[in-house]
Amino acid sequence: MSDTPLLKVENLKTQFFTDAGTVRAVDGISFTVERGETLGLVGESGAGKSVAVQSILRLVDSPGRIVDGEITFDGKTIVGFDEDTDGTERPVERDGMLSNSEMRSQIRGNEIALIFQDPMESLNPVFTVGQQLCEFIEINRGLSGKAVRERAIEILREVGIPQPDERFDDYPHQFSGGMRQRVLIAMALGCEPKLIIADEPTTALDVTVEGQILDLVYDLQEDYDTSFLWVTHDMGIVAEICDRVNVMYLGEIIERAGVDDLFYDPQHPYTQALLNSIPRPNQAGELQPLKGSMPEAIDPPSGCRFHDRCPDAREACTRTHPDLRRVTDDEQWAACIKHETFETDYETSRRLSPEGISVAGENSE
């Protein structure tokens, strides 16, 4: 049992059906979260990170829909489809896929908890922090009465809220941003889930508070042995806490590697460019920004989706759409045809002129 991954996502496709056309926000991504590990999901805004997270919890709103793929969590099928036999546009849900009410009662909160970026929006301003925390524990842990309050205060203390027995009766607006985020972490932990999905939880916080939260998560992971799926655009955080990393670009995973390999031996030009473009606290000097900006997912470039910004792009890249393949002897996976495993005509193909793309202009329109 414990050898199987905790969460398995296979070929997940989530699309948004808008008037302007179909937005392929998540386009066939596959990954696993192992028990007790922290997996990073990295990318710029618009890469499809948040939609991927929403899909895992089946929280995708209309006009968005999961159109294909399979998600299994701890032996349960969250998303699964049968062969399309009735010829309609909607895929057929497989038997054994959890119903909406089962998702609510068994998965969300209970097995998979979610921590959002903005702690103020995730807390209800008209209830006290204690009430909200208790409600959560009551529903998901089956405690009642005094035991709930005791457990709630215990968790608040664990996540480092000062004077938890008094702060219990405070309203969210009486907490600072960092404290609110701690409360959300407390809520997530209160249910002792197997997996916590953190969607940019420290982006709105100061560095000093961010450091506190990262330390807290680190300690709590030791105590509870929870798995984390950490969604972020901040390479600093990735380096600090993740074990393995998936890099997303325009709805696809374009590189997957252990954290050390990713930073010291990146296999995809996008990862390399991303690492070159970040200002680092321990060194000064000219930045090498990535050219242009990410295209719209409504009309992705042909071939490799990164070819129009890629420094290594060749003519073959405009034709061949690479899938994610293992490219080294270590667990390094990349979707780039410059690697030999792809057996394409990349080596002999003509280089795309880098001057074709203006350096400063983000002429995406």
């Binding site: 710029e44 805004s45 203390r157 480092g160 000062p162 004077q163 938890p164 027995d165 600072s176 941003g177 960092g178 404290m179 100061d206 560095v207 000093t208 508070v209 961010e210 450091g211 506190q212 990262l214 330390d215 655009h233 901040d234 390479m235 600093g236 955080i237 990735v238 380096a239 600090e240 954290v259 050390d260 990713l262 930073f263 010291y264 460019a273 991303l274 690492l275 473009s277 970040i278 200002p279 680092r280 606290p281 321990n282 060194q283 000064a284 000097g285 000219e286 930045l287 090498q288 920004p289 990535l290 900006s293 203006s358 350096v359 400063a360 202009g361 983000e362 002429n363 995406s364 329109e365």
Partner: protein, 432 residues
């Protein structure tokens, strides 16, 4: 780095901005029956957003201003620009004191001082075309004729890295990074000498941020600009600044050349900030140290050094004779009591938890014993108060506010406000 004896472009001295936080007609009045007379006293809650800040910016340099949210960075920017009038202090821009200029004279002067805000979206009118947006400041200051303005606008669009034909487009047609470029073009249209950048890249993706930072660098050379660059992101600050000022709770705690400050930070707050950034390198994992606690409220800032409540290097009170290790333990205990972060069952377990053996100073030992008694009896507040009065308040850091001074005579550009780095031959907090 600096030609400090030459004349700086911006010189700020003794600048303060306080906000009255009491609301309502009688909001600031408090009931205080003192026998005779009117039994109410006017005592408004003042938010000391900026307190006695002085620094200068040389021509052509970039001064980075860094600090946590709520420390007064943005208020400082707004006061420097006179969008908010200061409570006290002077802002010299060239030869004029902006704080004393009349409204019309100030309006004329605004041409030379521009600002870029954090959110590129909300600072552009969605109903105006890009051309009109960029021309508006020139019109307000009566620069050029219509054709001249259009030509200049097209040139500016080119300088900031956009296409001149974007002149007829609306802001919503652009991405975040492009919008920030439009803001830049608008700011530069009136040919300013000084631009305040208030977190200009924090709403942008990293790859776009790098593009904008490089453009800012190029524009500085092209237009001879002087920047005040405000950010909470130390990596960005290091990248763009020539000198850096670190702010904490309305005061500047350290200022100096960027390389010197990042390589050899003197103030404990600067050190804590620098070591708390997650470095994008998995091999330096776990080398962070974390500053505990939150920024205190600027309504009632701590006495003496404002950073003392979070300072890892708080100076031990001279009255007690404690070793360094013991002092650390006492402070950990004080902190735990204040936050009530443990269960107090009986005296021995609490003592064991925080102290390995009796303290070498018997007075301190008695105080600690008394505090533990109080804690076990459930009187946390009394214990906190006792520990604060006996230890924290006795520290030299709590008694006098450190001045922003040069710690060693070799580098006169460097200033630190910390008792640990008071210049030699002076008592902590002594006469300047």
């Amino acid at each position: 780095m600096s030609e400090s004896e030459s004349d700086p472009l911006v010189r700020i001295s003794g600048l303060s901005k306080h906000f009255d936080n009491s609301s309502g007609l009688f909001g600031g009045y408090e009931f205080s029956p003192n026998g005779l007379g009117f039994p109410f006293e006017y005592d408004p809650d003042l938010v000391r957003a900026i307190d006695d800040v002085s620094f200068q910016i040389e021509r052509g340099e970039t001064l980075g201003l860094v600090g946590e949210s709520g420390c007064g960075k943005s208020t400082l920017a707004r006061v420097v620009l006179q969008l908010l009038r200061p409570t006290k202090g002077d802002i010299y821009f060239g030869d004029d004191n902006l704080a004393e200029l009349s409204d019309e004279a100030l309006r004329q002067r605004r041409k030379d001082i521009q600002i870029i805000f954090q959110d590129p979206q909300s600072s552009l009118d969605p109903r105006m075309k890009v051309g009109a947006i960029i021309e508006e400041p020139m019109e307000a200051h009566g620069m050029y004729d219509a054709a001249g303005r259009e030509q200049r606008t097209r040139d500016l669009l080119d300088s900031v890295g956009l296409e001149p034909q974007y002149y007829d487009r609306y802001p919503h047609e652009f991405s975040g990074g492009q919008r920030q470029r439009i803001n830049l073009a608008r700011a530069l249209s009136v040919d300013p000498e000084f631009v305040v950048l208030d977190e200009p890249t924090s709403a942008l993706d990293v790859s776009i941020q790098a593009q904008i930072l490089n453009t800012l660098d190029d524009l500085q050379d092209e237009f001879d600009l002087t920047y005040l660059f405000i950010s909470h992101d130390l990596s960005v600050i290091r990248h763009i600044s020539d000198r850096v000022a670190v702010m904490y709770l309305g005061e500047i705690v350290e200022i100096g050349d960027v390389e010197v400050l990042f390589e050899d930070p003197k103030h404990p707050y600067t050190r804590a900030l620098l070591s708390s950034i997650p470095v994008p390198d998995p091999r330096s994992r776990g080398q962070r140290s974390v500053l505990k606690g939150d920024v205190p409220s600027p309504i009632n800032p701590p006495s003496g050094c404002r950073f003392r409540t979070r300072c890892p290097s708080l100076i031990a009170p001279g009255a007690h004779d404690l070793s360094e290790d013991e002092w650390t333990r006492v402070r950990a205990f004080t902190r735990a009591v204040d936050r009530r972060s443990f269960d107090a069952e009986d005296i021995d377990t609490v003592y064991e938890r925080f102290f390995h053996g009796p303290l070498s100073d018997s007075t301190c030992n008695d105080i600690v014993d008394e505090a533990i008694d109080l804690v076990v009896a459930g009187r946390w507040e009394a214990a906190t108060e006792l520990l604060d009065r006996q230890f924290a308040e006795e520290s030299p850091c709590a008694q006098t506010a450190p001045l922003l001074e040069t710690p060693d005579t070799d580098d006169t550009d460097r200033k630190v406000a910390c008792h640990l780095h008071s210049p030699p031959n002076q008592d902590p907090g002594g006469e300047m």
